[in-house]
């Protein structure tokens, strides 16, 4: 039991987790049929990439990787605000959130 408590985790596991999260985000982007859920899949991809940034910051003992994640978070917040405003505008114009029915740029 004491060996279980002192055990260490290889950083490659963290990187694998981030790759799997990113792939799940891509799969969600492809299979989901709701505009909001597609947007959530993009956030999932961003989070997967952030995890690998933090892992490499730990590996190289560098602060810059963490600062990059900080900037990604700020950009993601701005992106979410604008994206959800666009989704509301689309819903008002089309009265649907199904991506199959939103196939035209013009009204």
């Amino acid at each position: 039991m004491s060996s279980l408590f002192t055990q260490e985790v290889p950083l490659s596991w963290y990187l694998l987790l981030s790759a799997i999260l990113f792939s799940l985000g891509v799969v969600g982007f492809l299979i989901k049929r709701n505009l909001i859920t597609v947007f959530m899949s993009i956030e999932l991809m961003l989070n997967g990439v952030n995890l690998s940034f933090v892992t490499f910051a730990h590996q190289w003992h560098a602060v810059k990787g963490q600062i990059f994640v900080f900037f990604v978070m700020m950009v993601a917040a701005a992106e979410a605000a604008v994206g959800l405003a666009i989704i509301i505008a689309v819903f008002r114009a089309r009265a649907t959130l199904a991506v199959d029915r939103i196939d035209r740029m013009k009204l």
């Binding site: 730990h58 600062i67 978070m73």
Partner: protein
Amino acid sequence: MHLILFLVFAGLCLAGAINLLLQSHPINSALSLIVVMVSLAVLYLLLGAEFLAAAQVIVYGGAIMVLFTFVVMLLNAGREERTLGSRAARAIGFPAVVAILAVIATVILHAQGLGVARLSDGITSTEELSAVLFTKLLLPFEVTSVLILIAILGAVALARHSEGNADSQGSAERTGEK
């Protein structure tokens, strides 16, 4: 201890991500995304990024996901209809995803010199982080504030524009529903 914490929260993270894909109602997807983000915050803490763990909970788990759930409830988004999607997505998309994951996994598993993470590694303090952020990277930081200002203006402009533009159409649809 690190191993146990990693396994528990990595498992939660993956379960949340898979649940996001399987749920058909957007609000359930949003709630499982919150699980993913909070367990990622614990993983950041395990990697010694204390400030990012806090920011992850506050910005992602708090602000962004509140925005998401708010929009889901505001638009009263119902259960999504399952369709097959485009043929290109099935023919090219999924093999491409599998290929990318396989390539990344192979590279990671064969990488030399990747270290290990222990609980005794110590954490990167917020002081260290801000020393770099506010000296070397001050200009990008300030530019980001402009970006956020533009995003606020854009969000307000988008919402107002559609209101003025589609008002007659929207009210016509609303009366049509009644």
